[in-house]
Symmetry: C2
Subunit: 102 residues, 2 copies
Amino acid sequence: MALTNDQTVEIAEIFRLMGDPTRLRILIYCLDGPVAVGDLAQATGASPSLVSHHLRLLRAARILRAERRGKKVYYDAADDHIRTVVGDMIDHVAEPAEDGED
Amino acid sequence: MALTNDQTVEIAEIFRLMGDPTRLRILIYCLDGPVAVGDLAQATGASPSLVSHHLRLLRAARILRAERRGKKVYYDAADDHIRTVVGDMIDHVAEPAEDGED
DNA sequence: TTAATACATGAACATGTTTTCATATATTAA
DNA sequence: TTAATATATGAAAACATGTTCATGTATTAA
């Protein structure tokens, strides 16, 4: 499959955003359903401010989406592709190395 | 699925490496079969030196693997998970936005 | 051995990113 | 309105990364 330059850059941008451990932790916590910012901060051990900064990036890239309910804002995966990509990668790491590699 | 901290960091590292446009282009060219370094440089428009630097990172993370044949060194995807992850992401970008997003 | 080709590597520059801290905004309750 | 909770944001500090250039190593052929 051939990609345009814009598509390549867009994909790289999504991978890049997934490529920071703090942000990836936040993302993974959001894969199973909406989670509030404060809960993400608690779960990840990052400050609410830092979590909020990361959430903004993830949201801007349409990796996550936000929904306010009262005082809290809940974030969850923007679509199933995101879940699939992260799921595949988890499988990749969970599996033992394949034959033939050096 | 619960991940250890090491696993999370390992996954983030792989995503991070896929998250640079030059490196992603190199990776995508390697998905369909072994490609020599010089051909990757030509195809991507990057210098052989830069391609080599990127290949070293991709190889160290076991995203690609190398095989020398005479003077040339051929790189290809280390396993099918890599192909799957990139393929999923291409689908993600190729598809129109889903319902319900803001 | 020498030369030519193909790739790899170290150092340095330029740029970009993550994180913290202080402060601002939104929502609800009193 | 005031206070309390929850989240967002701007700026700066600390740190990391991509790229280039010069040079080094491997392989083959003469």
